[in-house]
C-alpha cells in the first residue's frame, strides 16, 4: 500500500501542476503526433448504413493509443525520481509504447509478457528488444496478460525504491484506473471537438473495444455528461459466449477482486480466476477496468460482445473498404457496427475508436483468413 499511496500523491501533485500538463502536451504534439485525425469512413458508412467516423489512434507513434498513457506516466516517473521502468503487456502494444518512452528518456525497461503472447506477437517482441527493453516471458499460470501483471507486481514490491510500474490498462490498484483514464481522455476530448467542428452536433453513439478498457474509457469519459450520446463497449467473445472460451468479463463474469481492483472477473465457482480466451492478445484479460463495471451497472454504457470470427470479418472488411488494417482489438469494435448502425439509423453519427493498427496481427491472422477462402 505505501507504494500506491505515494504514487497517488505524486500523481495528484503532477495533475495540479501546469508545467506537467504543458510538458505532456508538448510531447503529445511533437513526438506522438497528436491530434490524431477524426476520419469520415464513407465506404464503411455506406456499407453499414450510418455516418461512421474513425478516431485514428492507430496513426499515433508506435501504432496505438497506448503511447498517450505511457507519455503521461513516464513524465510522472521522472518527477518521482524513479530510475527503472517495468510494464506488463498482452498484445505488445503497451510494451512497445513503454519501451519507446524509456528509450526517449534513457531509462532501463523490463517488460513482462506471457510466454504464450511472446509466441503469438513476435514482431512486437522484436520491436521492444530493438528499443532497448528486456522482455521477460512469464511461464506461470495461463502465461498471458494477467500472469504478466502478477509478475510485474512481484517485481515492483521487490524493487520499490527505484522502480516505477507503468500499467497500460485502466485496471490494477487505485490510482491506476483513474490515472490511465485521465491520460487517455485526450482521445475523447479531441474527438468531441473534432466531431463538433465537422458536424456541429454531438455524435449519437461511441464505440470502442474493451479488454481492460483504456481506449474505451478515454473515448467515453469526456461524453459522460452528454446524455444523448450512447456508449458501446465491445468485449471479446472468443470462440463464443457459450463455449466458455472468451474474455468478456462483463457479459460472462461476476464481481470480484484481482490486482487490487474490485470489478467484474471471469472466475469459477470457488473464486479462482479463469483464463481468458481471445484471438486478440490485447483483450485477453479476465477482468475489466472498474469504471466500466460502474458505467454498466448504472446503465450509462452498454457492453456488447464480438467473437473471434466476427472480429476477423471486420478486420478484413475495414482493410478492403477503407484501406486501413486495424488491430484485432479494434476489429472487435468494428464488428459491432451493424448493431450500432441499426440503432442510430442512416443519419446517425457514430464515432469508433480505431485504437491500433494491425500490422502486428498479420502473421496470426493470415492462416485463418486464408483458411476461409
Amino acid at each position: 500500500m505505501p507504494l500506491v499511496l505515494a504514487l497517488e500523491q505524486a500523481y495528484a501533485a503532477a495533475k495540479a501542476d501546469d508545467t506537467f500538463g504543458a510538458e505532456l502536451a508538448g510531447y503529445l504534439t511533437s513526438y506522438v503526433g497528436r491530434p490524431s485525425p477524426l476520419y469520415f469512413a464513407s465506404r464503411l458508412s455506406a456499407h453499414h448504413g450510418a455516418r461512421i467516423w474513425l478516431k485514428r489512434e492507430e496513426l499515433n507513434h508506435t501504432g496505438s493509443h497506448k503511447i498517450n498513457n505511457c507519455m503521461g506516466q513516464i513524465l510522472l516517473a521522472r518527477r518521482m525520481g524513479k530510475t527503472r521502468i517495468i510494464a506488463e503487456t498482452g498484445a505488445g502494444q503497451h510494451g512497445v509504447a513503454t519501451a519507446t518512452a524509456c528509450a526517449l528518456f534513457g531509462l532501463p525497461c523490463v517488460v513482462y509478457m506471457g510466454a504464450v503472447d511472446v509466441e503469438r506477437q513476435a514482431p512486437n517482441v522484436l520491436r521492444m528488444r530493438l528499443l532497448g527493453a528486456e522482455v521477460r516471458p512469464v511461464e506461470s499460470g495461463s502465461a498471458t496478460l494477467k500472469d504478466a501483471m502478477n509478475e510485474a507486481l512481484r517485481d515492483w514490491v521487490a524493487n520499490v525504491s527505484d522502480t516505477y510500474y507503468l500499467i497500460g490498462s485502466a485496471a490494477g490498484p487505485h490510482p491506476y484506473p483513474a490515472m490511465v483514464r485521465d491520460f487517455q481522455t485526450i482521445i475523447g476530448r479531441e474527438a468531441r471537438a473534432q466531431i463538433l467542428e465537422a458536424g456541429a452536433r454531438l455524435p449519437d453513439a461511441l464505440v470502442a473495444c474493451v479488454g481492460g478498457g483504456s481506449n474505451a474509457i478515454g473515448l467515453f469519459h469526456p461524453f459522460l455528461a452528454d446524455d444523448g450520446v450512447r456508449l458501446f463497449g465491445v468485449e471479446a467473445a472468443g470462440e463464443g459466449m457459450d463455449s466458455g472460451h472468451h474474455a468478456a468479463a462483463l457479459a460472462g463474469g461476476r464481481p470480484g477482486v484481482l490486482h487490487g481492483a474490485h470489478s467484474y472477473l471471469l472466475q469459477d465457482d470457488d473464486g479462482q480466476i479463469l483464463e481468458a480466451h481471445s484471438i486478440s492478445a490485447g483483450l485477453d484479460y479476465p477482468g475489466i477496468g472498474p469504471e466500466h463495471a460502474w458505467l454498466r451497472d448504472v446503465g450509462r454504457a452498454r457492453y456488447l460482445t464480438a467473437t473471434d470470427e466476427e472480429a476477423l470479418d471486420a478486420f478484413a472488411l475495414c482493410a478492403r473498404l477503407e484501406g486501413i488494417v486495424p488491430a484485432l482489438e479494434s476489429a472487435h469494435a468494428l464488428a459491432k457496427l451493424p448493431e450500432v448502425a441499426a440503432e442510430v439509423g442512416k443519419d446517425g453519427v457514430v464515432v469508433l475508436c480505431l485504437s491500433g493498427r494491425g500490422d502486428k496481427d498479420l502473421a496470426a491472422v493470415a492462416p485463418r483468413l486464408e483458411g476461409r477462402r
Partner: protein, 274 residues
C-alpha cells in the same frame, strides 16, 4: 476458542521465554490426503502455530515455490470448502495449536465474508491473513471476523512507516505479521540486523506479538530471528520440499516434517543458547 487460542499459545510461549515456530504449507498441496498427513504431523514436529495457505490462481505476493504449491493444490481439486475440511479434521485431534489461514481475497469474497467467517470458526480456524486487503478496504471483512471472534492478522513491511503501523495495528488481532523483506515469499534472504529495528518499531505501535516471515530459509536464520521476534514463519522452503519430492518420485511427508523439526529445534534453542 479462536483469537483466544492464539493468545493462549503466545502467553504460554512467553512464559517459556521462546518464540513460536510457525510453518506455512499450502492446503491441498500436492493433494488433499498428502496435505492432511503433513498437517497432522506438524505439531509433533514442533509447530507452535500453523499457517495454512488458501490456494489461489493468481498468488501475486508469492514467489515461485508457493506459486507451484498453489497450482498443484488447485490442479488436485482443492477448494475453500476443502481447506476448511482439513482444518476441521485437524481440530478434532488438536485443540490447542492455532490455525491461521493465509491467502487472497477473491475466494473469500466469492464465498461471502460473513458466511466464510461462520464456516471458518465452525471448522476451528483461529485467524485469517489476507495479503491483498489493505486496512482501507477491510472493514466488511474485519466486522465479519469479529462477529465470530476470528483474528484478522495484518501485514507490515519494511516500507510501512510509523503512521501506517498505527493504522495496521488498529483492527489487527492475535499478532502482527512482519514481512522481513521487500518482495515476494521465498526469494530474498532476510537480514537479521534490519529485522531487529523493524520489529521494535512494530512493537512500539501495538501491544501484539510480532511474527516475522518471507525469506527465512535456514535453521540458523530461523534461530537469529527467534531471538528478536515472537514468532518465526517458514514457508517456501517447506513447499519447495514437496516440489523436490515429486521430482524424485518420493513421499514428501517425512522430508517436510524433518525440515520442520530442524527449524523448530533451532527456534526452541535460540534464546536458551544465547
Amino acid at each position: 476458542m479462536t483469537v483466544a487460542r492464539i493468545e493462549a499459545r503466545f502467553t504460554a510461549l512467553a512464559r517459556e521465554g521462546r518464540a513460536a515456530f510457525t510453518p506455512y504449507v499450502v492446503a491441498g498441496d500436492p493433494d488433499a490426503e498428502t496435505s492432511w498427513r503433513i498437517l497432522e504431523g506438524l505439531p509433533a514436529a514442533g509447530a507452535d502455530l500453523i499457517e495454512l495457505g488458501l490456494p489461489f490462481s493468481d498468488p501475486m505476493a508469492d514467489g515461485p515455490a508457493i506459486q507451484r504449491g498453489a497450482a498443484r493444490a488447485l490442479a488436485a481439486g482443492m477448494t475453500t470448502e476443502g481447506v476448511l475440511a482439513l482444518a476441521r479434521r485437524f481440530r478434532r485431534g488438536d485443540s490447542t495449536t492455532p490455525i491461521v489461514l493465509m491467502g487472497y481475497y477473491n475466494p473469500i469474497l466469492n464465498f461471502g465474508p460473513t458466511a466464510f467467517a461462520a464456516a471458518a470458526a465452525e471448522a476451528g480456524v483461529d485467524g485469517l491473513i489476507m495479503v491483498d486487503v489493505p486496512p482501507e478496504e477491510s472493514a466488511p471483512l474485519a466486522d465479519a471476523l469479529d462477529a465470530h471472534d476470528l483474528a484478522l492478522i495484518r501485514l507490515a513491511t519494511p516500507t510501512t512507516d510509523a503512521a501506517r503501523l498505527v493504522i495496521i495495528a488498529r483492527r489487527t488481532r492475535g499478532f502482527v505479521y512482519f514481512v522481513s523483506v521487500t518482495g515476494v515469499t521465498g526469494v530474498k534472504e532476510a537480514d537479521a540486523g534490519a529485522i531487529e529495528a523493524q520489529v521494535k518499531r512494530a512493537r512500539a505501535a501495538c501491544a501484539l506479538p510480532v511474527a516475522v516471515g518471507f525469506g527465512i530459509k535456514t535453521p540458523d536464520r530461523a534461530a537469529e530471528v527467534a531471538k528478536i521476534a515472537d514468532a518465526v514463519v517458514v514457508g517456501s522452503v517447506l513447499v519447495e520440499e514437496i516440489s523436490t519430492a515429486i521430482a524424485l518420485k518420493r513421499d514428501p511427508v517425512p522430508k517436510i516434517l524433518d525440515t520442520v523439526a530442524a527449524m523448530a529445534h533451532a527456534v526452541r534453542s535460540a534464546r536458551a543458547g544465547g
